[in-house]
């Protein structure tokens, strides 16, 4: 049973939540937020779609398999640590770059940020893998039960004919 109001609201709220999650991720270094919280918000944005419509809608909206998101996240986090190693420091040492940016501003980038991006993607991947798998397993079971019931009914009917 899909609630029309919830489904419509989810469609509007989901992009907002995603933007908010990225906002959380970026500001995390200086104010409450970060990859973990941001990742959870992003995951919830997709779960909202899954609950309001069906898991297939959430998957279509994500476009890629959540398990791949998870893997890419872990890879980014681990790879960000290698930069420190390549610079002759210990694994995962933060390396900072100060880049000139638009309009005379400066953009401070660091491997730490990429690590946080890795955490963000891993959390999104983990949460969606768990939740979508559970939702789909539940629905499959429901379908199977319904099919079994229908089959029983059909066989009973055929018996009554013979």
């Amino acid at each position: 049973m899909v609630s029309l109001i919830l489904a419509t609201a989810a469609r509007v709220v989901q992009p907002l939540l995603l933007v908010f999650s990225i906002f959380l991720l970026i500001r995390g270094h200086n104010a409450p937020g970060g990859g973990f919280a941001g990742g959870l918000v992003a995951a919830i944005a997709f779960i909202l779609l899954a609950v309001a419509n069906d898991p297939e809608t959430a998957r279509r909206s994500l476009r890629v398999n959540p398990r791949h998101v998870l893997a890419v996240g872990l890879l980014i986090a681990a790879a960000s640590g290698l930069v420190g190693l390549a610079a002759g420091r210990a694994f995962l040492t933060g390396i900072f770059f100060d880049l000139p940016a638009l309009a005379g501003g400066r953009l401070e980038l660091s491997t730490v940020f990429f690590f946080d991006v890795g955490v963000y993607l891993t959390v999104v991947g983990v949460t969606l893998t768990i939740v979508l798998t559970l939702v789909e397993a539940t629905e499959d079971e429901r379908d199977e039960a319904a099919r079994a019931a229908a089959q029983e009914e059909a066989s009973e009917r055929s018996h009554s004919w013979s």
Partner: protein, 767 residues
């Protein structure tokens, strides 16, 4: 860098092996063999330098933080072994290309074989004992993969596991021994330790150290009482049996004994331990060999016996004995490698390896016959083969082993020597003599890939016998010299004059031929007397395995009975008990300074949380329980917020939200709500939960009252922005100061997600 380069080259060859086999399956064996052949050639080129100059040593920083260096050293002993490993390795790689031709697993096989070769080179080239141990362990693991290569066969898997567990038990002993040795000698470098023999001998742990190190060597070289794993390891493809289980890996134990004998040899403990194990093994394995009909098992038992002779000689430890051990080792590697390769050819081309039935193959497989005969004559110690020289030296060592009784030792050596004549005749001569028999396949000589190895190794056995001086000065003398520490001048010759040794050789041959002609009754007798299946050490191994399995089974049935309630109970009980023990055992509790300036709204939040928790455990509706739990969570989040931890609060709220969603999803799977547990069980659960809660509360209060000199928060507050360019301390800790922990945590999360996916989605569908 050149010594380490040999190891890296073998690893690199292994890495490209699967690709090469995929592209050019027919030529892959020949192309891959170039690498070990080049290693062997390079090593051979070092011979003059080692003979004249002395060892080559090189070091590479390995774990600089702990001051551990990867040091490699090439002396006479290492050179002999490394040449066998790379030289026979090259031939075996070519052979395997023919043996597994058309098998799509050849790539994987070559990969593991090269990994083994690299590990084995590591064992013999390492100067650092810890490096040696690491390489030693890797030979065990690669051997496991190779024995169990036919992974669909239960017997192969069982044999692989048996070899792994037996040698691994020895490995643990070896590691303990290495640590003791390193502590006693103040270094882990073998070249340093052999100089400090007196200091090590004065160590109070000298005895246990000896026993542990020797135990590691004995398991690896399949010495009594650990001999059972080697014949079972014949489940491996034949190239593996020839390479690992006769020519190289099983000699690693002998290598280690030779390596440490400058430190340990000469004590009574060493003599009885090493010499005793070797003596028992050489006689026992010879007895067990005599009634085997499977070609490979026959050769395996004779290998165990030969390893026993080498161990026995190193146990005696005299200069004669060491010279004999090295000469015999070289001869054995040549002829036994050949015989295994021939056994593989027979199996491959006739489809059978029952030694009692194979016969009359001389016209069908003439080249194979020549190789087999060369090896068999060397094994039977006929002049002018290299095996003859080795056997003469063994007898000489036994005769001159004062103060031990020479007559007894000579008799002990005579027994396996006679059996070797019989085994040589059964495995190398009889399959080709006699009348033709019906075979599963029409036999003919195999292609050149499978012939080059046995022919070359067999021929080396004759060349070594005819020009023994080349082997003596180049290989055997330097090897013996590195063991005894004194310049050794082994003179190998076929003719020593009319000595007792020559008489003994003649006697051995006569007894061996006589035993071969009356083999049937002797074998029947031996089979009847073989009670090892009932009371041998292998029964002990099986008993121990069964016991471990039964104990693990019982424990798992109790602790992990499939009910989540039980798991939770176990975690809580164990956690509470351990933490409580540490908490209370630390002495008097610190005085608790309760912060009494509690605000009214804080009390209200706490009250709500408590009421919600009580509701959650008393309600009879699942949905209300979930909602109540949600209130508990949000209440806690509110407390975080009130005490100035917005990050924690935010994460808590998000997690709470997700938890409720997950609960709702799981709700569907649950049966109708009912109270299933008894009243007593619920009281027990309440007591445990209450204890755990009180303990956690106490811990929190105690932690609050412990004052560090400088609170951690101050450190992070002070360094967070200057060092890590971030103002949010919590996040800076997560992603920078403690990034390694976070990486670990997200890895665990990822594994949990994949686990749930696998459990729900990858299980076999019910039909």
């Amino acid at each position: 860098m050149s010594l380490m380069a040999t190891i890296l080259a073998a690893l690199a060859a292994g890495a490209v092996a699967p690709l090469l086999v995929g592209r050019a399956p027919r030529a892959a064996g020949w192309l891959l063999a170039v690498v070990p052949a080049l290693i062997a050639a390079w090593l051979a080129a070092q011979v003059p330098r080692i003979v004249d100059g002395g060892p080559i040593r090189e070091t590479v920083a390995w774990i600089p933080a702990l001051g551990i260096e990867a040091s490699f050293r090439l002396d006479g002993l290492a050179l002999l072994f490394a040449l066998l490993i790379s030289g026979i390795g090259a031939l075996v790689v070519v052979y395997a290309g023919g043996y597994l031709a058309g098998d799509r697993r050849l790539g994987r096989f070559s990969l593991i074989l090269f990994a083994f070769m690299a590990s084995m080179l590591g064992v013999v080239l390492a100067d650092n004992l810890l490096l040696l141990y690491a390489a030693w362990a890797l030979t065990g693991i690669t051997s496991y993969l190779l024995i169990g290569f036919d992974s669909h066969s239960p017997t192969a898997r069982r044999a692989a596991l048996q070899a792994l567990i037996t040698t691994f038990a020895g490995e643990l002993a070896l590691l303990a021994g290495i640590v003791m040795l390193g502590q006693a000698g103040g270094s882990y470098e073998l070249s340093v330790l052999v100089e400090r023999g007196d200091r090590i001998a004065a160590d109070p742990l000298f005895g246990p150290m000896t026993v542990l190190l020797v135990a590691g060597a004995l398991t690896k070289s399949a010495q009594f009482p650990f001999h059972y794993w080697l014949p079972n390891a014949m489940e491996a493809p034949t190239p593996v049996s020839a390479y690992l289980h006769s020519a190289t890996m099983v000699k690693a134990g002998v290598y280690l004994l030779a390596r440490i004998s400058p430190i340990f040899a000469g004590t009574d403990l060493w003599l009885w331990l090493v010499g005793g194990a070797g003596a028992i093994t050489m006689v026992l394995a010879a007895f067990l060999a005599i009634h085997q009909t499977d070609l490979k098992r026959l050769l395996a038992y004779s290998t165990v016996s030969a390893l026993g002779i080498m161990t026995f000689l190193l146990g005696i430890g005299s200069e004669h004995a060491v010279n004999a051990a090295m000469t015999f080792l070289l001869g054995h590697a040549l002829y036994k490698g050949t015989l295994f390769l021939v056994a593989g050819i027979l199996d491959h081309e006739t489809g059978m390896r029952d030694a009692s039935r194979l016969s009359g193959l001389r016209t069908a497989m003439p080249i194979t016959m020549v190789a087999a005969a060369l090896a068999a004559f060397s094994m039977a110690a006929l002049p002018p083969f290299f095996g003859f020289i080795g056997k003469e030296l063994v007898y000489e060592a036994a005769v001159h082993a004062e103060p031990l009784p020479p007559a007894l030792l000579t008799a002990l050596v005579l027994a396996p020597s006679v059996v070797f004549v019989v085994v040589a005749a059964v495995a190398g001569i009889r399959p080709f003599a006699g009348p033709r028999v019906d075979l599963p396949k029409a036999p003919h000589d195999p292609g050149p890939a499978m012939l080059v190895g046995p022919v070359l190794l067999g021929a080396l056995g004759v060349i070594g016998g005819l020009v023994p001086a080349a082997f003596a000065t180049g290989l055997v003398s330097p090897a013996a010299a590195s063991i005894t520490g004194t310049p050794s001048d082994v003179e190998l010759a076929l003719w020593h004059g009319l000595t007792p040794m020559l008489l003994l050789s003649g006697l051995t041959l006569l007894l061996g031929i006589a035993a071969f002609w009356s083999l049937a009754p002797i074998a029947a007798l031996a089979r009847r007397a073989d009670v090892g299946g009932r009371i041998g050490p292998e029964r002990g191994y099986e008993g121990a395995m069964d016991g471990i399995r039964a104990a693990a089974d019982a424990l798992a049935r109790y602790v992990q009975n499939g009910l989540l309630r039980r798991y939770l109970l176990m975690i809580l009980v164990a956690g509470t008990a351990l933490v409580g023990f540490a908490f209370v055992g630390r002495g008097p509790l610190p005085s608790l300074r309760l912060p009494l300036d509690v605000q009214a709204h804080e009390l209200a939040v706490v009250g709500i949380v408590i009421i919600a928790a009580l509701t959650a455990i008393t309600t009879r509706s699942r949905l209300s329980a979930i909602a109540a739990l949600g209130i508990v969570g949000y209440g806690v989040a509110l407390i975080y917020l009130l005490f100035g931890a917005p990050d924690l609060a935010m994460t808590q709220i998000l997690i709470e939200t997700l938890t409720v969603i997950l609960f709702v999803l799981v709700l569907y799977h649950l049966p109708r709500f009912a109270i299933l547990s008894s009243r007593a069980a619920r009281v027990r659960d309440a007591v445990i939960a209450g204890t755990a809660g009180v303990l956690m509360g106490g811990l929190t209060l105690a932690a609050f009252s412990v004052q560090n000199d400088v609170p951690l928060s101050e450190f992070f507050g002070a360094t967070s922005y200057p060092d890590a360019h971030g103002r949010n301390i919590v996040n800076v800790i997560l992603v920078d100061f403690r990034a390694m922990d976070t990486l670990g945590e997200i890895t665990v999360l990822a594994l949990a997600a994949l686990g749930i996916y696998a459990l729900l989605r990858l299980r076999p569908r019910r039909t």
